[in-house]
């Protein structure tokens, strides 16, 4: 048969069509596979369900191992919409304790694609969260009856008792600001809001783990991606041991009941906070779970400001508790000698200025002056120092020197305690007075700073810290509440000694003065049998009734505790400060109170100061 040549050329067209089609498809798969990563991401979001594995938050115990904060299981109820049908809605609502309207609203909310862009009928959706274990046990019995509903276990913060709320703080759901500033957090996560929960957030929270699960087209889980090669186990948060002694803390809070004020105790040899009480306080156990927001709002609205940690946020005039620092500065700067005595004629009188004092022998040197808390002595001391033109060319220079001393003792700036919200108090400097008095001022103008009045303010923590520097004879550690982080040493910030600008030798006179105050001076009531207690009262004048303050340490040699007590409007230092400080020291030194002291504690626990209803 002859070949038909007439149409043979058409083979090129047919071949060309084949080549064109394959070329078109190669271009097509090129654009699909190589020009954009979009398809890969969509395939990943199809197939991977990234499950977050939440770590257990670190637990918190006191210095003796008493567990103060721990985790308890709480439950979330989830629902798979696809399986949820034919249930007795009324029975369900009664079981979980919601109304039918709430049920309908919640269901509509879950299905709302705007709020839940990843909503799927096949996967569990959160229906109710943070159901406490005891409440859930009732639900658990009946839950199996309701198709599609199931429970998942989470944890909730638990507190051993109503103590140390200000120190421990609490956790709450993260806000938008937290999410924006730290990519670790996702909506619905928890974060420390106050106290050490906040300052040690990164230690306590641990690290979230993740699990990449494969999800098939029906939303069912089909095992681990690559056999879990990319899964990460969560790292539990580290446990904290606090310097707090829970018995001491309990006592401090008892003693402050019905009063406004704070008690801070420091272990001078380490800077650890032994107790930190602020009154009024609140029950941290109310600050967990679904009602946290409500309780927080109530506390924030309270005129007595229970959320305020007065121990580090309250700036008070230190009053006479400030005098030891003045004595130290005077001795160091050579304004006085240990035997320099000043007269006191029921106060300080100079060029028509009178600053009152109570009646006592006169004249007297530094040790008895501290013992009787002589105002005149410390006024003269400041006058001498500020007026020393051979040492300082101007009052301003003397003032700057004075301020530097106080800053070295921990005043005027934040001490840097490991709690959020610390205030710095106020130590005026030369600039301040230059502005206030337009340059024309002298020692007499500012004389009240010498007795811890006037512009000077300090937090109870700073007062306690001053006490600790005296107990240590010249240095302090930055006070801190956390003693150790699960076997690890704490930051060296807290283990470095900070020396004051005063030589150690001058401290013995101040210690002797504070000892004299207890033995035969203003704070005789602070004496604890068997211990050499040193102390200093403070009665700080202010717009209302005087604040009652006290600082003290014991024993005199190798001190184990330095304490500061500040009771707003408590009158003389001896009224509240001394007995409260004494009880705290006794409790810590002996581990318990004597029967007589226990009665005294009860008496002070029941004392109330009427503050009126004015917001403070």
């Amino acid at each position: 048969m002859p070949k038909d040549y007439s149409f043979e050329k058409r083979k090129y067209i047919i071949g060309g069509v084949a080549i064109a089609i394959i070329a078109l498809y190669i271009v097509r798969i090129f654009t699909l596979q190589l020009l954009s990563d979009d398809y890969r991401q969509r395939a990943d979001s199809n197939a991977f369900r990234k499950e977050v594995l939440f770590p257990a938050r670190g637990q918190i115990s006191d210095r003796n191992g008493f567990l103060m904060v721990y985790n308890e299981p709480s439950y979330n109820i989830t629902v798979v919409m696809q399986d949820q049908h034919g249930i007795d809605t009324l029975d369900f609502c009664r079981t979980v304790g919601i109304t039918r309207e709430e049920y309908i609203a919640r269901m509509a909310d879950i299905k709302d694609s705007k709020k839940h862009p990843n909503y799927s009928r096949n996967t569990p959706q959160l229906f109710m969260s943070q159901i406490p274990a005891e409440e859930f046990s009732k639900i658990r019995e009946k839950l199996f009856r309701f198709n599609g509903f199931s429970a998942e276990k989470r944890t909730v913060r638990c507190y051993a008792g109503p103590w140390a709320a200000h120190v421990l703080g609490d956790v709450g759901e993260v806000g938008q600001a937290d999410i924006d500033s730290d990519s670790y957090y996702k909506s619905g996560d928890f974060i420390g809001k106050l106290g050490i929960e906040r300052s040690y957030e990164k230690v306590l929270r641990g690290e979230k783990g993740k699990r990449i699960m494969l999800r098939d087209v029906h939303g069912r889980t089909k095992g681990h991606y690559q056999d879990g090669k990319y899964d990460v186990a969560p790292i539990a948060g580290r446990n904290l041991t606090l310097g707090i002694d829970i018995e001491l803390q309990k006592l401090a809070e008892r003693l402050l009941e019905g009063k406004l004020g704070a008690i801070v105790a420091i272990e001078p040899s380490s800077g650890e906070i032994l107790c930190m009480a602020s009154s009024p306080t609140y029950d941290p156990r109310k600050m967990v779970g679904r009602d946290r927001g409500k309780h927080h709002f109530e506390l924030a609205a309270d005129p007595m400001r229970p959320l305020l940690n007065r121990a580090i946020m309250g700036c008070y005039p230190p009053g006479s508790t400030f005098k030891p620092s003045q004595g130290l500065i005077g001795l160091q700067e050579g304004a006085i000698q240990p035997n320099t005595a000043f007269p006191c004629a029921h106060g300080f009188n100079y060029k028509g200025l009178h600053l009152g004092c109570h009646g006592h022998a006169s004249p007297m040197p530094i040790i008895p002056a501290l013992g009787t808390s002589c105002n005149a002595f410390f006024c003269w001391n400041l006058m001498r120092m500020f007026g020393n033109r051979s040492k300082y060319s101007t009052t301003q220079e003397a003032m700057t020197r004075w301020k530097d001393h106080l800053v070295s003792m921990g005043f005027g700036y934040k001490l840097g305690i490991d709690l959020p919200g610390e205030k710095r108090g106020m130590i005026p400097n030369a600039d301040y007075y230059d502005k206030a008095y337009k340059g024309s001022w002298n020692a007499l103008t500012v004389i009240s700073i010498s007795i811890g009045q006037g512009e000077v303010t300090a937090t109870p923590l700073q007062i306690a810290n001053l006490c600790a520097t005296i107990a240590n004879r010249g240095y302090y550690y930055i006070p801190h509440v956390v003693r150790s982080i699960q076997g690890e040493h704490i930051d060296t910030t807290y283990t470095r000694r900070h020396y004051t600008m005063v030589d150690q030798k001058w401290y013995s006179y101040i210690v002797a003065g504070m000892r004299k105050a207890v033995v035969s001076g203003t704070c005789v009531g602070a004496n604890i049998p068997g211990y050499e207690v040193c102390g200093k009262t403070g009665t700080a004048q202010n717009r209302g009734a005087d604040h009652s303050a006290f600082m003290g340490f014991a024993p005199m040699e190798k001190p184990r505790i330095a304490v500061a007590v500040y009771v707003e409007n408590g009158g003389f230092g001896a009224h509240f400060g001394v007995p409260l400080g004494s009880l705290i020291m006794e409790q810590y030194l002996n581990g318990k109170l004597s029967a007589a002291s226990e009665r005294k504690a009860e008496e002070f626990q029941n004392k109330r100061i009427n503050y009126g209803t004015r917001a403070r």
Binding site: M1, K3, D4, S6, F7, E8, R10, K11, I13, I14, G15, V17, A18, I19, I21, I22, L24, Y25, I26, R28, I29, F30, L32, Q33, L34, S36, D38, Y39, R40, R42, A43, D44, N46, A47, F48, L214, R215, D216, V217, H218, K222, G223, Y225, Q226
Partner: protein, 484 residues
């Protein structure tokens, strides 16, 4: 014709055989990749689809060997018998077949079921080859064209009755062979034109044309008709250029004028103006034919009228003649309708391929296919697995394998000394090309979702055997040629 002592297996075209084996291997690997379960799968177990596919492959190779043993002239002699037996089987299939996803095309045979439609292609190709092989047969004769058309149409109609529209469409691929054998090119052109009218007309039927009240689709198609007609006058009546000039100027004038009036004065549907233009041109063509009595004028006249008719019929076809799911698929493809299911399938298929990247995710690591996101992942959408697990490199390799096979078949077909051999060769490559064209187009979102398998890849015995029949009968005919 003397018997040759050399076994025809030794004269087999080694390139085609090699490509066949490579494609079979790639196909089996892809079926493995598409197997549902995560974790350890026993590929060789008879229970798994991969194991079954291996059996089908083994049977295919055996079948190929048997085909090579049979004397090649029997294929020509028995072509008509094959064909009519196949027609009878196709006819009775709907009555004995089980309903599988709405189609009645699978005949159950014990543990397996076969799809006669896959084998009917081969029988039809043989019958066509024998018809065209007749002495003095030329497709330019209308009578011959009709006879050839009937051979194609009988199985096509029977397969449509089984509701296997995809398989039926494969018979369109014979037009490529007809074209090679002398079918006028204008018939192919008309077919292409029809597709263009359809895609443009339906695809843009909801897009408003700015400045008017009409839509883009109708306006554009009517202008395309005008351009086609002018071009045809230019090509078929090269000695009368004045008509081309006249009709071009007229068309531009009507377009500009109508659009200006609509945009500036009274907005109206521009299609009416262009329709009027086309009607005038049709009348012009008819008048020229009446004057000159040249058949070209008549044919162009018919094309013009037919095109306009087709445009307005296609809408009717879409809404009344096609089945609901087919209309949806077409509308989804043309982007005028959002059908969740159809769009979802194509979308997931594109995601699967697109997520493969350059090198792919690796064998058995495709998440889209493994987790059932891709529908029909081991049959019609098998190419997704290739794209996802082997990436651009693997997918391109597979496409080039197909291209190599088709071009090799083209070369071999042209080498045939008999018309029978050549026609059959063209049938094989046309069917192959059509399958690849539609299947890959479907999974990459370029063609509508028409359920036809990818040769040598898709899971299933019928398709594999069908292509083995086609390929090895041609190889046997080719081997027979070499002894002469």
């Amino acid at each position: 014709m003397r018997e040759n002592s050399i076994n025809p297996i030794f004269r087999i075209d080694i390139w085609v055989l090699l490509l066949y084996f490579v494609l079979l291997f790639c196909g089996w690997v892809s079926v493995c990749g598409a197997s549902h379960d995560i974790g350890d799968v026993d590929f060789l177990s008879w229970q798994s689809r991969t194991g079954k596919q291996l059996v089908w492959i083994a049977c295919s190779i055996g079948l190929g060997a048997v085909i090579m043993m049979i004397e090649d002239r029997y294929y020509e002699i028995l072509a008509d018998l094959f064909y009519w037996v196949m027609v009878v089987i196709l006819f009775i299939t709907p009555f004995i077949a089980n309903d599988v996803k709405g189609s009645r095309s699978w005949i159950p045979l014990g543990p397996v079921s076969l799809q006669p439609a896959e084998f009917a292609k081969c029988a039809t190709a043989l019958a066509l080859a024998k018809l065209i092989n007749q002495y003095g047969f030329t497709l330019n004769k209308r009578q011959n064209l009709i006879r050839a058309a009937i051979i194609v149409l009988i199985p096509l109609v029977l397969i449509i009755m089984q509701k296997e529209t995809g398989s039926a469409l494969v018979y369109c691929s014979f037009s490529l062979m007809f074209y090679r054998e002398g079918m006028p090119g204008c018939i192919l052109f008309c077919a292409v034109a029809a597709v263009v009218y359809f895609v443009v007309g339906i695809g843009y039927s909801l897009t408003p044309l700015p400045g008017t009240t009409g839509d883009v689709g109708e306006f554009a198609v009517l202008n395309i008709i005008w351009i086609f007609v002018v071009a045809m006058v230019r090509i078929y009546l090269p000695r009368q250029p004045e008509h081309v000039r006249r009709l071009t100027v007229l068309g531009i004038a009507v377009n500009v004028l109508a659009w200006s009036v609509s945009a500036i004065f009274v907005p109206f549907d521009l299609s009416w103006a262009i329709l009027g233009l086309n009607a005038f041109i049709a009348a012009y063509l008819g008048w020229m034919w009446a004057g000159q009595r040249l058949s070209q004028w008549f044919l162009i006249f018919i094309f013009s009228i037919g095109s306009i008719g087709f445009l307005y019929l296609s809408d009717f076809t879409l809404n009344s003649l096609l089945k609901d799911y087919q209309r949806t698929r077409i509308c989804v493809l043309l982007g005028i309708e959002e059908d969740r299911d159809a769009a979802y399938n194509v979308n997931q298929s594109k995601i699967a391929i697109g997520s493969g990247g350059l090198m792919g995710k690796g064998f058995m690591n495709g998440t889209q296919t493994k987790l059932d996101y891709v529908p029909e992942q081991d049959t019609d959408f098998i190419f997704c697995t290739v794209g996802e697990e082997e990436g651009f490199v693997g997918a391109t390799f597979v496409l080039l394998l197909f291209l190599a096979l088709i071009l090799r078949l083209l070369y071999l077909a042209e080498q045939q000394v008999t018309v029978f051999g050549r026609v059959f060769g063209y049938c094989v490559l046309s069917i192959l090309l059509f399958h690849v064209f539609i299947n890959i187009g479907m999974v990459t979102g370029l063609a509508p979702v028409i359920g036809i398998p990818l040769p040598f890849f898709s899971y299933g015995g019928s398709s594999l055997w069908g292509f083995t029949f086609l390929l090895f009968i041609f190889l046997r005919i080719d081997a027979g040629r070499k002894r002469r």
